[in-house]
């Protein structure tokens, strides 16, 4: 019986766990409960992946009303894969949170933190799993509102302006998405994605359809920080509490990319998106610009979190580049990079949280000499940085390999060169950090620093180890990503 309700429980459990987190008056119990729920979500995502990995599609009708009258969840290999990423990161970050927030968030706000994290998780999972265009908007609102709250909890007062900036940009993005969905409804009379997909091919010449497409692409572009709509991202990631940067930095933009893919391929159909609207010629230059520009800016940052945030903008560029190549290898590269980038950025931000816990801040100059003082933390950082660069045996290599293959397949060799150049730029910006940590002495007047506690090191190393494991044995991620890419191109609509 449980199995048949699994798609609903995947979202309903964290959704209802949020008010319960708020009602539990003891902070520690609230944390234990939240961690337990995050593991439960991860377990459910694993079960869902196992059910759909061979191409099956699960449907769930809310309220027992058949679509298009009611709201439907539909799980195929693509959503299950993204659910796995989001809930997996949550299952690591939630247990990590307790120690990390002790020094970053006042005790009176701990319950609010866990409630908001739970809402954010539920919203992101819901956006991923839903088969209804309006339901996606509702869950987008839940995840957005809670992420504005989470970012504003940062210690630095600039977290408030960062959060406000994100709120304004995010709201414009959400409004654009709503306008897009509204126009689609006016044209077709339906909100169900599969139903929309069956009606859209007949409407190809419609201007309303083109406007809906434009609004949705720009709306999701804002949410996923597509260049030049990325301006909210660096501040948001830099000033949020460490655990929040790790969670939002490795999941929120991924889910937005997933949603964009879902609309481009499933709702509008690859034929309309790429042959009629030619969206790849919009995405490709923007992807190139964001890879070059963000990598360049990252080289000159003093704060490591901000540096990693700019690097995220560049990584999003890779994902968009993979989409813009419009071939199965490129799309597989994009999907692999969703998974792999979540692992590397999640791991790196968790490591930074451990540094912030001991040192107090994460500027490049503050970590001088930490290579000796915090060997395990800095070791994790080095492995994460290697993965970010794309060194073989790490996950970063796998996704870049697929992207390079895809560019060669298309014969776009300048893009191949671009990927290699930007990897070298990643060497430059990560090397600055590693050099400071290992080859500079700790200033004489700096206080003594100990290795980070195990409650931070274990979660951080879990993600870092995953970088190595899936870099060596990448079968799970590549099978799922290839399966999803083939499904999107296969024309099988949900």
């Amino acid at each position: 019986m449980i199995n048949e309700h699994l798609p609903a429980l995947q979202v309903v459990v964290p959704l209802l766990a949020a008010p319960i987190c708020f009602l539990i008056l003891n902070n520690r119990l609230s944390w234990l409960f939240a961690s337990l729920v995050s593991w439960l979500c991860f377990a459910m995502a694993i079960l869902l992946v196992m059910e759909v990995k061979d191409g099956a599609v699960l449907h769930y009708e809310f309220g027992g009303w058949a679509p298009p009258w009611g709201i439907e969840y539909s799980v195929d290999v693509l959503n299950a894969y993204v659910l796995l990423i989001v809930s997996g990161i949550a299952a690591v970050v939630f247990p990590y949170s307790w120690t990390s927030i002790q020094k970053e968030i006042p005790e009176s706000h701990h319950r609010i933190y866990f409630t908001a994290m739970m809402l954010c998780l539920a919203g992101l999972l819901g956006m991923t799993i839903t088969g209804d265009a309006f339901n996606l908007f509702v869950l987008l609102e839940i995840s957005s509102l809670s992420s504005y709250t989470l970012i504003s909890l940062g210690r630095d007062r600039r977290a408030l302006t960062a959060s406000f900036q994100y709120l304004i940009m995010g709201t414009i993005g959400a409004t654009f998405i709503l306008i897009g969905v509204g126009l689609l409804y006016a044209l077709t009379g339906t909100l169900n994605m599969a139903d929309l997909a069956s009606k859209i091919p007949a409407l190809e010449g419609s201007r309303t359809l083109q406007a809906a497409f434009a609004f949705l692409v720009v709306g999701f572009g804002l949410k996923l920080a597509m260049f030049p709509l990325h301006l909210w991202l660096p501040n948001a990631y830099a000033f949020a509490p460490s655990a929040v940067s790790a969670f939002i930095g490795s999941t929120a933009t991924k889910v937005a990319i997933y949603a964009l893919l879902r609309f481009l391929y499933t709702v509008f159909g690859a034929d309309f998106s790429f042959n009629f609207m030619q969206v790849q010629w919009l995405l490709m230059p923007l992807a190139v610009a964001s890879i070059l520009f963000a990598s360049m800016v990252a080289m000159f940052q003093d704060g490591i979190k901000r540096l990693l945030a700019y690097s995220s903008v560049a990584q999003i560029g890779y994902m968009l580049l993979g989409i813009s190549l419009v071939n199965i290898t490129g799309l597989t590269g994009t999907l692999l990079h969703l998974f792999n980038h979540a692992l590397m950025k999640g791991g790196l931000f968790l490591t930074l949280g451990a540094i912030a816990y001991r040192v107090g801040d994460t500027r490049v100059k503050s970590i001088a000499g930490l290579g000796q003082a915090m060997p395990f933390t800095m070791g994790a950082f080095v492995v994460g940085a290697l993965s970010l660069i794309g060194v073989p045996l790490t996950v970063g290599f796998i996704s870049k390999w697929y992207l390079i293959l895809a560019t060669l397949e298309k014969g776009y060799w300048p893009l191949t060169v671009l990927i290699i150049i930007s990897s070298l730029m990643a060497v430059v910006y990560t090397w600055r950090i590693i050099e400071t940590a290992y080859f500079q002495e700790r200033p004489a007047n700096a206080p003594e620093v100990k290795e980070a506690p195990l409650s931070l090191l274990i979660p951080a190393w879990t993600l870092i180890a995953a970088n190595l494991y899936f870099g060596i044995n990448s079968r799970l991620s590549t099978d799922l990503a290839t399966g999803a890419a083939k499904m999107l191109f296969g024309g099988s609509l949900l």
Binding site: L23, G63, A186, G189
Partner: protein, 327 residues
Amino acid sequence: MSAINLLIDIVLLTMLVFTTIAIVRSRSLFAIVMLSGIYSLLSANIFVVLDAVDVAFTEAAVGAGISTVLMLATIGITGYEQKKRRSISRITPLIVVFITGAVLVYGTLDMPAFTNPSNPVHEHVAPRFIEQSPTEVGIPNMVTSVLASYRGYDTMGEVIVVFAALIGVLSLLGIREKKTDPVYTEPPPRPILQVMAKFMIPFIILFALYVQFHGDFGPGGGFQAGVIFSVAIILYTLTFSQQDAMDLVPPWVLKRLAALGVLIYGGTGVVSLLKGGNFLDYNVLAHDPIHGQHYGILIIEFGVGLTVACVMILIFFAFISRGDKNP
């Protein structure tokens, strides 16, 4: 569409445009808040002309009513005038706005006209809502049928959005109880206002209850009722004092009730799961599916009303407890 409707639409939309221009040009925050209230009221009128009375009711209660009050509480903290700011370039925003507007105009030129009965909107999902909902869901107001049953999961999401907003406000502002504040002084009594408020509050609450429980039959439901109920408490706060109101409805109780409202809604779904149906399938709640639908809608609307009322009061408390002037 009759000619008179067209005329009303043109007049209302023109007023909407002028209100927007006035909002953009004004520097007085007080005037902007008032004009925003007017904007919402005009929109509510347009919804009435479009025969969307439930939407109009919500827009009037939320947009023109409670948002205006909350914005006034906000400028109680920030001051009434917009600060002079460095002159920033207006070119980029203007280009963005122009392009967005151009795309909207381009996109809506061949949009199906909403008066055409053979529109996709009228021919696809709507006929079943109109023809079947009286027998499937069994309540006369089909808007409530769609919101609470066919698309009940979205409505649960909206309640959680309201709850998420509360979490945001509590994390940013918190609620200061003045009792512990040494510089706090009791406000002077305002007998005329207080007597009038005492006279009005019972009727406001009664109206809120009517809107709550009559939502199955006419326009209304939990969202509007929750807002109206909160207005009663807000009126009490404004005419008496913040401390009196917090003694009457203590914030810690409201916080629990706000979370409880969400759980009542979600719990209904969980019960229908346990009884062998899908999540939020009210049919299985009672022996007769129609009765089940009735019970389900009644319970979830109560959850909605509870959460919305508590959240609105709490957000209002959070704003005014930050202001240095006692209302």
